[in-house]
Symmetry: C2
Subunit: 380 residues, 2 copies
């Protein structure tokens, strides 16, 4: 029967991470539970919502945890409730004691809380990855390429492959991350030092969003494994499993224009452009087609947006450089705002082909392999 | 035709305050608008949702506003949209120019925004208070008595008088503020230095909640006026009108027990009691009757709560002082938590009559005239 004492904060942190994988809206009741496995060498907290699974190991020699294990075993507890209870305990140390019939007694100071647990036998077996070749990456780098692409995924569940980010190792030794919802696309190429692992997978956007909350040490290096329909991200104590989206991602390279096709090349201050689009958006959200018009004529660059109900905006933009032909093009300012949000460079280069062809955005003066594409809206 | 220039931040602050009175869910379309009246001596912003109304005057000599008025008049603008537009303007100064047909041109830097306005003739006439005798109070003091009582109002719209705080000037020269939802009651008595104004009114809780956002300078003294069904709070520039709830409030004095009836007198550390109740609440929210049981027996004070589904909590409390008989009483811990939230004293005195009679809470060692009442729940 389980019996251990542990530092409350260390236990709470481990719970918080594991809880990322535990959903309240799951059809399998056991998946709302947290599985606690106590062995002599440490405590493992396991959570899963069927899409992502987390195994979080707290070793007995972890100094922050001040752990003392005097009985082993495993039990299931209601995850959200258990986390609340632990967070409200009065003292820095908590005692966890399994009683008869999977009842758990938590003691902390003068507070004694008895929780009804369940037999861990009813917990579904999680598919694990037979570890083979892996890719090592810094958390920070992975988060960056996720941030730069995941916003562009589709939210339409009827085309599942577009709800994830396509991750592919290229023969050039690069990792490509790309996402599109068919209105815009964002693609990042990243040179890999060590590319033993080859893959071509689609990672769900939901997994990407919770990844950020699980791996919080940006400087840490994690290992990536892939097996069948699962991807595993792992550091010394946490194993984060995500299911992959089945299907093959379309070839997005053909969407990126040839250099020779561009007819207009503009450079803007990214912050100024962003604020101009924020103002245009105030009006475009009031209209049905929701577009802002960019008119380039000689040295003048002007944005205009009209809403028959509330009014109009007219603004002159300063292009830091301009090469090419005049153009008038309409598009949804939300897409440009989203694109600018993930460009860290102070200046952004935008290149156009025509008013009916997608235009591209890139950070200026950065050989970063980062390109975004926005499709214009045809207006009369 | 209106024409002025003004510092953006000063104008934005005035808008933010006035907007507190402008609802989006109002049945009179004109009430979603902001009324701007420009005269030679300054700009008045007016908003109303039919329940509360705010008149906010920006004098032309206000130094922060750097105001220049070169044309007068009045116009209605869509309030929420206008506030968004102003907040997004690029420069510190904005130019406001009325064009033909109530169109308004806002200019700031290279940004020109045209807004469709409406004739202010369609704005309903606001009932004003013919100023007579008034009461002067510090914003801070008024906020305190509001905070100490408003949480206890009823949210049941079928008994409107209980959805407000009863404010009454007593013959003793005190102001009484009291609120109850029939499960708990909170009453504050406040000595008034200058009590020229006599009243007995019920102020809606919604008005109390927005009051805090309108008068943000706690050290400021404001004037209070009452006329018919309205109450007016006023400083040099802001006039805040609230409708009052019609009806007469029941006599709550008879609910407060006589000193002689108390059979048990306990003093607790307020923070310890609060945390114990927070833990009990984790379990009681899972049950239908939702009660915690307090058992006082000799020197022992124990709280227990049980949920058949999830478990139980058992906790010893340290009473700082205890006088009187043993008792076992059940109540909803939410009420005690709410009560403790508004008691600033570090120690709280709780006195009981029996397990079926309401018990009282007071800050210990504070002749503050602040008393709260909580009704127990009968359990089997």
């Amino acid at each position: 029967m389980i019996k251990f004492s542990i530092n409350k904060n260390a236990f709470q942190n481990a719970l918080r991470i594991t809880k990322q994988a535990i959903g309240s809206k799951v059809t399998i009741p056991a998946l709302t539970k947290l599985k606690i496995e106590v062995e002599e060498n440490g405590i493992t907290l396991i959570g899963s919502n069927g899409q992502i699974s987390i195994k979080n190991f707290l070793p007995v020699d972890n100094k922050d945890a001040s752990m003392l294990i005097s009985g082993t075993g495993s039990v299931l507890l209601e995850a959200a409730f258990f986390e609340n209870v632990v967070s409200q305990l009065p003292e820095v140390t908590l005692e966890f004691t399994e009683k008869e019939q999977k009842q758990v007694l938590l003691t902390s100071g003068k507070s004694e809380i008895t929780l009804k647990g369940l037999d861990s036998e009813i917990y579904p077996h999680l598919q694990e990855i037979s570890e083979g070749s892996s890719l090592k990456m810094k958390v920070k780098v992975l988060k960056e390429i996720f941030t730069e692409t995941v916003f562009a995924v589709s939210t339409q569940e009827n085309r599942p492959i577009f709800t994830g980010v396509h991750l592919e190792t290229l023969s050039t030794g690069e990792l490509k991350a790309v996402a599109t919802d068919s209105h815009r696309m964002s693609q990042r190429l990243l040179p890999l030092e060590d590319s033993e692992l080859k893959f071509d997978v689609i990672l769900p956007s939901k997994s990407i969003n919770s990844f950020k909350n699980v791996f919080t040490n940006d400087e840490e290096e994690i290992e990536i494994f892939i097996s069948g329909s699962q991807m595993l991200f792992r550091n010394e104590t946490i194993s984060y499993y995500s299911r992959l989206i089945e299907g093959s991602y379309p070839d997005t390279n053909r969407l990126i224009p040839n250099e020779a096709d561009y007819t207009l090349d503009l450079v803007f201050d990214a912050a100024q452009l962003r604020h101009t689009m924020d103002r245009a958006r105030l009006l475009t959200v009031m209209t049905t087609n929701g577009t802002v018009k960019l008119t380039v004529s000689g040295d003048s660059v002007v944005t205009t947006a009209n809403s028959p109900e509330v009014g109009s905006v007219h603004e002159e933009l300063t292009a830091l450089s301009k090469e090419g032909n005049d153009l008038a093009i309409s598009f949804n300012p939300e897409y440009l705002i989203d694109a600018l949000k993930v460009i860290k460079a102070p200046e952004v280069r935008i290149r156009f082909i025509s008013n009916v062809r997608p235009f591209t955005l890139q950070p200026r003066n950065e050989e970063s392999g980062f390109v975004q594409l926005i499709t214009p809206v045809r207006t009369n």
